[in-house]
């Protein structure tokens, strides 16, 4: 029979996002709350001065957390429901399965994304170039986090499978690093620590693109290089390490 690839991707989006949102509408609220609460805190504490960077931070958090959420969702579906076993023994390829699941994470964040994009439109008035830069950075962020998510989900250990672990990753990479505010607010030596997180580089590019941060061209180039290299390396490892059939 002729199989529709679109259906195969749609299945992941339905199972991992739409059905859950439809059957348990309460999850909609929680997906909105976490990126927006930090935005509010930062905005109030800075008396509104950091509203712009905080919007960008919220966007980074959403895209980065998607991949991390993907990891726990994949593990959950694989280990607690044996869904992945059923899919492996079916005509679905690993790429289409993972693709649908990853897309689902974005769909899951659509309510929060809409709010942030509207705020960004009103408050930042981005030019087309700025929109392009922000979009590329966010997509790279998404790719990195999705690759980390895949990789982790194939290690089946109890630690990796727990939601506490995903929350920890989210905290370490999306909340603690200076993504909601410029890195200049972080005193030495902690700013060096911040550079251990790929989200810091993404934030630097975004903050400088919208004029909240002044950095040299060299530094900016370095940010892009680091981001691209990290993305490539993690994707490469993920593709090499991810196993569809177990051994």
């Amino acid at each position: 029979m002729k199989r529709s690839k679109l259906s195969q991707i749609l299945a992941g989006v339905l199972v991992n996002a739409i059905y859950e949102m439809k059957n348990y509408p309460i999850v909609l609220i929680s997906t909105i709350i976490s990126p927006l609460s930090l935005l509010l805190v930062i905005t109030f504490v800075s008396s509104g001065a950091l509203f712009g960077t905080a919007i960008e931070g919220g966007l980074i958090m959403i895209f980065f957390s998607s991949g991390i959420a993907l990891q726990s969702d994949l593990s959950h579906l694989k280990n607690d429901f044996k869904l992945q076993d059923m899919i492996v023994s079916s005509p679905t390829s690993s790429r289409l399965y993972m693709g649908g699941m990853a897309l689902a994470e974005i769909v899951y964040s659509v309510p929060a994304l809409v709010i942030l994009i509207v705020l960004a439109g009103i408050y930042l008035h981005p030019s087309l170039l700025q929109i392009a830069i922000l979009s590329i950075v966010l997509l790279l962020m998404f790719a990195v986090s999705v690759a980390i998510g895949f990789m982790l989900s194939t290690f089946s250990s109890d630690v990796v499978q727990s939601y506490a672990f995903s929350r920890l990753l989210s905290l370490l990479f999306a909340t603690l690093p200076p993504v909601y505010y410029p890195i200049t607010y972080v005193p030495s030596p902690f700013n060096y620590l911040a550079y251990l997180s790929p989200t810091t580089y993404a934030a630097e590019i975004m903050h400088s693109a919208t004029g909240y941060l002044n950095i040299s061209t060299n530094m900016l180039i370095l940010d892009w290089v680091v981001l691209l290299v990290v993305c490539a390396v993690i994707l490469f490892i993920a593709i090499r390490k991810t196993r569809w059939r177990e051994v």
Binding site: R3, L14, Y19, E20, N23, D80, S89, S90, T92
Partner: protein, 303 residues
């Protein structure tokens, strides 16, 4: 007619545990094949290798001419499995469960929608189509998963312990459904219920500690078993001198004599003459299984 063939399949897990030891057999891919064996015998390991989820350490297997390793993609077009620990996803309804699986198999949305409803109807659970899986009873949840794979076009279906946890009536209902399915597809199932294998399976395999110790139709298993008849006597009955038989006494004092045909008829005549109450039946799969597995346990105890 196609065949499922295993050649010298061995599986050693990463922790060096040997789950399958040189398993070879061949069965036609029609009707129902039942695999039985104790906990840890290797049933799930074998079913996962055959359904292309797990790599064997050595050996090969093919289904309808398609190799499970090198031709997995083609094989996956025609197989489907309900794994032993599969659960219906909590936040979905039965209809959403079946539909999403069909979408994954590449059906168009409308077609998936229609096939899902038909499949739920076939398993007589269409009245629950739009209730969350989490609100269904355990038996209905199991049926949802079976409806899921059987809604598809797959003509080779693996079911790892499909009736575990069902009450006797639900189990029988499911047997009827599986029997019906077995008419135009090949069903490979594992079970702990010997009666189930006896009732359903055209061919039965017995796994014992990773080795396939017996395979055939029920009558072939009976034929290859040392004893073909089982005679049961009430407590306190006098057991006469026996030839070529094995006697076991249960806790309640009932005596079971397993023996061959000639001896069985001799004993039956003797007991009738003496007016001893007794029953005589061909050996059941139960008898055969306990005989094979029990012997092994006894040998180990003696060693």
């Amino acid at each position: 007619m196609g065949k499922l063939e295993c050649k010298e399949i061995t599986k050693v897990y990463q922790d060096h545990r040997k789950a399958l030891d040189n398993v070879s057999f061949s069965v036609e891919t029609k009707g129902i094949f039942g695999l039985i064996g104790r906990n840890g015998a290797g049933k799930t390991t074998l079913i996962r290798i055959l359904s292309t989820e797990l790599e064997p350490t050595s050996g090969t297997a093919s289904i309808d001419g398609l190799d499970v390793l090198s031709q997995a993609d083609m094989l996956r077009e025609k197989i489907a499995i309900v794994p032993q620990e599969a659960r219906a996803i909590r936040w979905m309804t039965p209809k959403q469960t079946v539909m999403s699986y069909l979408l994954w198999r590449g059906y168009h949305y409308k077609q998936a929608n229609q096939l899902a409803l038909e499949s739920l109807k076939k398993l007589k659970i269409d009245q629950y189509a739009n209730i969350l899986n989490t609100r269904l009873s355990g038996g209905t949840k199991r049926k949802v998963l079976i409806a899921t794979v059987t809604a598809s076009e797959a003509d080779i279906i693996f079911l790892d312990e499909p009736t575990t946890g069902l009450d006797p009536i639900s189990r029988r209902e499911l047997w009827d459904i599986l029997r019906e399915l077995g008419k135009d597809r090949f069903i490979f199932l594992t079970t702990h219920y010997l009666e189930e294998a006896e009732q359903l399976a055209d061919h039965i395999g017995i796994l014992q500690e990773g080795k396939l110790v017996s395979i055939g139709t029920l009558s072939e298993l009976r034929g290859s078993s040392r004893y073909q008849y089982s005679i049961k006597l009430p407590p306190k009955a006098q057991v006469p001198l026996l030839k070529d038989s094995e006697v076991t006494t249960s806790k309640s004092g009932h005596t079971q004599i397993m023996t061959n045909e000639a001896e069985a008829f001799r004993l039956a005549r003797l007991f009738s003459e003496q007016g001893v109450k007794f029953s005589i039946t061909p050996v059941t799969l139960d008898d055969i299984f306990f005989h094979i597995v029990g012997q092994k346990v006894r040998e180990e105890n003696e060693a």
